[in-house]
Amino acid sequence: MAAGMGWGLALRRREEPLLLVAAGAALAALALLPLVSLAGQLATREALLGASRALSAPRTWALFMSSVGLAAAVTIASLVVGLPLGVLLGRTDIPFRRAALWLHTFPLFLPPFLLALGWFHLLGRGGLAGSAPGARLLFSPVGVVLILALALTPVVTSLVVVGLQAVDPSLEEAALLVAGPRRTSVRILLPLIRPAVALAALVVFSLAFSELGVPMFLRVGVYPAMVFSRLGGVDYAPGEAFALALPLFMVAVALLVVERRAAGRRSFAVLGPRSREVPALRIGRWRPAAIVFAAAAALVPLLPLASLAIRALRGGGFSKLPQWMGTSAWNSLLDAFLAGTLILALAVVIGHAAARRRRGGVGLDALAVLAFVTPATVLGVGLVATWNRPSLQAVYGTSAIVALALAARYGAVGLRTAAVSFSQGSEHHEEAAAIGGARFLRRLGRILVPIHARGLAAAWLLAVVFCLRDLETAVLLYPAGQEPLTVRIFTLEANGPEPVVAALACVQVAMTAAVLAVGSALLFRRKT
């Protein structure tokens, strides 16, 4: 057929699949190649023997199970707090619920170890409200669970709020005719948003399981830290790191399977705006307790941030910032903006294909999710194996490797957001353009992108803030002298002056808040 009609026409007719193939190849190079390289490192007899030794050590599996247990505990705690809080802030009539949601969600966009640092300045031995029992609690597995739960509960809360907004109002109204608000919430609303809750649980588990900064700071042994230690310092043994990454990868595959079963097909449909407003649920006599609960959820996350600011101010940390910060804040922004833009480019094509169930689209979405749920240590080790070659130093030796790694790890964040936006829009807009004679690229540029501009901007913003908060990926790959701010804070935390480290943490908080504020102002401005 192609010969008959000419290659030009044949290619133009295949614009959509060709673009999807190109985006898919880029995503595979970012997310799949490192995993394949990792497998390649273990394909020799010596490597297999080493792997067998590393994996048969009892400490390996004890640490692995302890990490799974920690992540599970964080997930359960996040669900216990996040589910009722999501209903309260998303559907009830308590005052200032929007402001409370913003304050509660903000810590999600900060590296969790920064919150641990703040709690340390508050509850540690020399802290503002420090005591020996408080310090003991902090430097224990319970402390790790509590801090990670505080950091990650907003994932559950915000997905519950967004999920509730997508519920057909008539389903809720039909229930309210025969049941009270509490029964309606528990029996109707929460089951309807089950896919959103499943997605939230999965995200919390994978982020908690991957976490390196908080357990290392609080001196609690976790499996990803053991892999990390094999890539530097006295335990340096890269071969073992490759082997030890295998169980982590197995967990990632298991999480992907769970995600496909629990939320996969419906995950785009459960998130989106309501067709019309319905009155908020009245909570009657529970209102005072609910207000206290919501106020606590909004204000408790501010405590560690306030303690960081006080520690920095008391020790004159801010005045020493110029000599300690270097270019790290700029590096963070550059890496995040580059990665966010790359993610957006992939998300437009793959997100559209996934939302419209095009052939290959769902598979590529699954690959992006796999990279997200794969612990950063595994992805990082794979990226080292792939890119650390003399011929690739133009990438590996520069910030480009950090941007590529961030794009691989957080691609799913942008891709899913874009897919949700596309799936909420009428397919008829595209079909009307197609039948009007426009091929895919023109439909994309003139119809899809302008109509979904807000959703795509949100995808970019979310990807950027997730990249800004990253420590686990960047710490394995940053080139000398070009570390992002999170890595700078993490490396200084052990030996640097406390007020300066606290001041650097405040810069990270301010930088994230500024990006979110500017982005949100642009996103939510009224159309003229």
Partner: protein, 244 residues
């Protein structure tokens, strides 16, 4: 008269169920054919097969002389069929003005700018929307949006136009007014049309021939009045009753 659209044994399967079952029909150039049926009878699927959004599992669709799709394969994609469509939800692009909505298809056909502007102005005047070219769809009334949708479909002089229940959500007065406008426009331009509806009176008002679909099969193809007295056909009685 030659067939502008020809369906030959078209079958569409979805989840193992036949949404269209061995549908065959010809629509002559310049003819308007109504397609009548209840919800789920396959009316919209029929339009989507003709538009090229869906390939038939079995059978073939020809547009003009060319086979456009057959047996699971779309040979001519929607953008090359020269067909226009008015969607049930109208699908006006909200970020483009009325002029932008009409201009989009003409730009795809590489019509020079001066000619585009001239054709758009003439079409807007014809549908009673002169002076609304710079408005966005969100600034128009329901009836005006319907007029934009029909103007967008016809401005590029398509080979055929597919109308998917475009009047289903309107009040009776506006429906009558727009039905008259459709009829005039299709006649004066000699455009082939496939008009999907669930209202027998609409079907009869616009077309001499009607295809009645039931569970994906064509159970009648011809004038609706031919069904009078056909008590042997289960669907005929209710249709005739609705016609009055």
């Amino acid at each position: 008269m030659s067939a502008a659209i020809h369906l030959d044994g078209v079958t569409v399967l979805r989840d193992g169920r036949k949404v269209l079952d061995d549908v065959s029909m010809q629509i002559a150039a310049g003819e308007t054919l109504s397609v009548l049926g209840s919800s789920g009878s396959g009316k919209t699927t029929l339009l989507r097969v003709v538009a090229g959004f869906i390939a038939p599992g079995l059978g073939a669709v020809s547009v003009g002389e060319a086979v456009a799709s057959e047996r699971g394969r779309v040979a001519i994609p929607p953008e090359e069929r020269g067909i226009a469509m008015v969607f049930q939800d109208l699908a006006l692009w909200p970020h483009l003005t009325v002029h932008g909505n009409l201009s989009f298809g003409l730009e795809s056909g590489r019509v020079p700018r001066a000619e585009r502007d001239e054709r758009i102005a003439a079409m807007l005047a014809r549908v009673g929307l002169a002076g609304k070219a710079r408005k966005h769809p969100g600034e128009l009334s329901g009836g005006e949006r319907q007029r934009v949708a029909i103007a967008r479909a016809l401005v590029a002089d398509p080979r055929a136009v597919l109308l998917d229940e475009p009047l289903s959500n309107l009040d009776v007065g506006l429906k009558q007014e727009l039905l008259g406008l459709f009829r005039e426009l299709l006649r004066e331009r000699g455009t082939t049309a496939l008009y999907v509806t669930h209202d027998p009176r609409e079907a009869r008002a616009l077309a001499e021939r009607t295809a009645v679909l039931d569970a994906g099969r064509v159970v009648h193809l011809g004038a609706l009045d031919e069904l009078r007295g056909r008590d042997d056909l289960p669907f005929a009685r209710s249709l005739v009753a609705a016609l009055g």
